[in-house]
Amino acid sequence: MTDFPPPLSREESLALGKRRRGRNIAMLIALVSVSALFYAISMVKMHAHIGGAG
């Protein structure tokens, strides 16, 4: 038989949800920021490339 951990109390469950939400929001901010940065880097590089070619 598998031993399952005891169920969380309501307070523990709420605290867990809060921590998880915080981590998810931080991850969202990081992903959006990195995407925006990569977009900006691509634009700068392409601009330089076009400028150099021209």
């Binding site: 981590r23 940065l37 900006a40 880097i41």
Partner: protein
């Protein structure tokens, strides 16, 4: 990327026998976003970015602001990744040191494997992004700095020799080189001088801390200088390194890379550092060099050393701006 970093982050120390006690119960569910941020040693990263930016600014040539921002972010991420891997490796000694016992891994909020994955991912990502955004020479230097801090300092030197912080200090001195290389794709004398300044600053900075934190290091079995050679010798070494460092910081002025704004500031800041180091040396102490004043001068010297490095590199900025 930061041997000095450990001191700033106020970290480290331990014994392998404690490993099984540490982290095995961590599930990751207890962690908060802040815990993951703290894994990157943000205070250390701040200093790394500050010194790296100096290399980037004073380098001849121009770099697009977006690429400059990306380069600084990569330096920050690389330093943070090194810190995370350091915390993973040192989790056993962190657990027995008062100053580090509350870190996310020893306190069980982040699982060791997760921390390692996090650090390695960020390290690889920072290097690739540096290469794509600037050039692969800068990316290679960033790789070198991460390798130096993680492998040479953390895994090899730290637990083996009292010279750990002297040799390992080079890890924290890389940022100006990387910043310079991000702009120029090469190196020259000025970034190497900036490197040398941080390299020489690290021992007096770190040993000031270890003078009053040596009990932690002793308990953890880390051979810091005060633990191995005693407080008296450590005081002497702090003074000697400071005496050697101050003239070295004047080199940019002497060689014409910086102007009088930097030169005068570096001289005044250095004289103050010398005064603090002298007070550490002459602190009221017993026959073995143990302080009878609660290591007040060493604490002052440690705090000042952080301010000193910020101010010294701040002077590099200002001098560059007014020239």
């Amino acid at each position: 990327m930061q041997a000095h970093s450990d001191a700033l982050a106020i970290s480290d120390v331990g014994g392998d026998s404690l490993s099984p006690l540490v982290g095995s119960i961590a599930t990751g569910n207890n962690s908060t976003a802040r815990d993951w941020l703290m894994m990157l040693k943000p205070r250390v990263v701040l200093l790394v970015v500050f010194t790296g930016l100096a290399g980037l600014l004073v380098a001849p040539g121009r770099i697009n602001p977006v690429l400059a921002f990306a380069a600084m972010l990569c330096i920050a991420l690389g330093a943070g990744a090194s810190g995370a891997i350091n915390m993973w490796f040192d989790r056993d000694i962190d657990a027995v040191m008062k100053r580090t016992a509350k870190r996310p891994i020893p306190s069980g909020r982040i699982a060791p494997d997760d921390a390692l994955g996090y650090g390695v991912f960020l390290a690889v990502a920072s290097v690739i992004m540096m290469g794509l955004a600037t050039n692969w020479f800068a990316a290679m230097l960033l790789t070198g700095s991460i390798f130096y801090y993680v492998v040479i300092y953390t895994m090899w030197l730290k637990r083996r020799t009292p010279q750990n912080i002297v040799i390992g200090g080079a890890a924290g001195a890389f940022p100006p080189l990387i910043g310079w290389a991000a702009v120029t794709g090469s190196l020259s004398a000025m970034p190497l001088i900036l490197f040398g300044m941080i390299f020489m600053w690290t021992p007096p900075h770190f040993w000031s801390l270890s003078l009053w934190a040596h009990e932690d290091y002793k308990r953890a079995g880390v051979p810091m200088l005060p633990v191995v050679a005693g407080a008296k010798e450590t005081r002497r070494q702090i003074l000697l390194y400071t005496i050697a460092m101050v003239p070295f910081t004047l080199l940019p002025w002497y060689l014409g890379y910086s102007g009088p704004v930097y030169g005068v500031t570096a001289l005044l800041l250095g004289l103050w550092f010398l005064f603090d180091a002298w007070r550490v040396y002459t602190d009221k102490q017993d026959a073995t060099g143990v302080s009878l004043t609660g290591d007040k001068p060493a604490k002052t010297c440690f705090k000042y050393s952080i301010l000193y490095l910020f101010a010294l590199f701040g002077a590099v900025y200002v001098d560059w701006a007014v020239r």
